[in-house]
């Protein structure tokens, strides 16, 4: 099962929740940081990182001697990565989205595939509280880190997701980027369950609404986590009730949580009151995933 921990608003506690869930998860699990623009899950899970590889996107490279300036590539490109100006075909590699259309179209074979570095894919292992395997570092960790200056995160996110092992029985927890634009949708689109972390403030509610609007068409079970409960107002809870979105957890506003966070600790381990809250959240997520299979694919269930 794939669980995406997302939010409309940034800074609501996605990583705090993801790290706690990963630490407490009672089944084989892989924690994935898909917030590739600013990955920080590793700061709390303290994984042992064992591999780092760079990820590239295919971009065109020009052999000017073969180019006849016919302009077919430039006319096709929707992103102005190629432009015929005067007696030159100009290439703007940073504009390229990697579709490969120009390479396929060029009648003179003047364009060949090259690579633009998107960033790094880092993997390793961390320790859960269950250590079912008997190893000290019993769970998988995977993270994408976008190159500073790179504007496109979804191509890197896709490559990170392609590294996920297809092991049945291993759950995947995705720490998603905030917002509701391409990176956020890319992080939640493959999930079986979406957890929306928000805070009980007008800002939290505003962006929570956007997230519900953006992700509901995906047709996946969604639940809310109200972080810093006790501050602000009841707007988020009222909205959830009206929309039929279950509130799976309320994490009370507590200075001890902020202190543990600032020390890079998993808050569910550091703050005793939170342990039960996060365990209950885990159970509700797993319950929603089980329902999701039976409703999404009833034929499959009958065969099983």
């Amino acid at each position: 099962m794939i669980y995406a921990i997302a939010s409309g608003k940034g800074g609501t506690g996605k990583t705090t929740v993801t790290a706690s869930l990963a630490a407490l998860w009672d089944r084989p699990v892989i924690a994935v940081d898909l917030d590739v623009e600013e990955p920080n899950l590793h700061l709390f899970l303290h994984p042992e990182l064992t591999s780092e590889e760079s990820a590239c996107m295919e971009i065109p490279v020009l052999d000017a001697a073969r180019c006849t300036l016919c302009g077919e590539c430039a006319a096709f490109c929707q992103f102005k990565a190629l432009s015929v100006m005067g007696k030159t075909l100009l290439l703007f590699p940073e504009m390229c989205h990697g579709c490969g259309g120009c390479l396929a179209l060029c009648p003179e074979k003047a364009l060949s595939p090259g690579g633009r570095e998107l960033g790094q894919i880092v993997s390793g292992h961390f320790r859960t509280d269950h250590s079912s395997s008997g190893r000290a570092q019993d769970a998988g960790f995977l993270m994408g880190r976008l190159r500073v200056g790179e504007a496109m995160s979804p191509p890197l996110m896709r490559q990170v997701k392609a590294r996920l092992p297809q092991t049945p029985g291993t759950d995947i927890l995705i720490d998603s980027p905030p917002g509701v634009s391409c990176p956020a949708v890319n992080a939640v689109m493959d999930a079986d369950v979406i957890v929306l972390v928000t805070e009980p403030t007008p800002f939290g509610l505003h962006d929570f609404r956007l997230a519900v609007e953006a992700f509901r068409p995906l047709g996946k079970p969604m639940g809310a986590v109200v972080n810093r409960a006790g501050i602000g107002d009841m707007g988020v809870q009222d909205f959830c009730r009206a929309q039929g979105i279950p509130v799976w957890a309320e994490i009370p506003f507590n200075r001890a949580v902020a202190e543990a966070y600032s020390r890079g600790e998993v808050v569910a381990r550091a703050v005793p009151e939170l342990h039960a809250v996060l365990l209950a959240l885990m159970a509700r997520m797993q319950g929603a995933a089980a329902t999701s299979i039976s409703t999404a694919n009833p034929a499959e269930v009958r065969h099983a």
């Binding site: 992103f79 102005k80 990565a81 432009s83 015929v84 100006m85 005067g86 030159t88 100009l90 703007f92 504009m95």
Partner: protein, 125 residues
């Protein structure tokens, strides 16, 4: 005086204000200095682009046959494209009408730029 100059403009007339944006300019007033004939090139298509507006605008200027462009802020990719097209860039032109900008150019008061004066992705100032 001869040559064709393009001025980024908020509208089609010489009395319209210079649009200080190059890539996202509303359009270009194109002036043939030999005859002072004026035409207008709409740049609305570039305004609507998610990215690459400067490059598209440079292509539009080149297609209009201009050898010089007058604008406020020109980014690095637009600048590179204009240079490749052999089009001279005059920037920091703003707060005046297209007609006033053309007059300044004709009096030789505007110097060609050697480098772009705005960051990629649009001028934020």
């Amino acid at each position: 005086m001869t040559g064709i100059i393009a001025v980024t403009s908020e509208g089609p007339k010489m009395t319209d204000m210079v649009d200080p944006r190059f890539g996202r300019a509303a359009g270009f007033v194109v002036v043939d200095l030999a005859t002072m004939a004026v035409s207008y090139v709409d740049n609305g298509g570039s305004q609507a682009m998610a990215q690459g507006a400067g490059i598209q605008a440079a292509e539009n200027v080149a297609r209009a046959g201009a050898g010089v462009v007058l604008s406020g802020f020109v980014g690095p990719k637009a600048f590179q494209a204009l240079q490749a097209g052999g089009i001279q860039v005059i920037q920091n032109v703003e707060g005046m009408t297209v007609g006033q900008a053309v007059d300044k150019y004709k009096r030789g008061e505007l110097a060609a730029a050697e480098a772009p004066n705005a960051p990629a992705g649009g001028h934020k100032g």
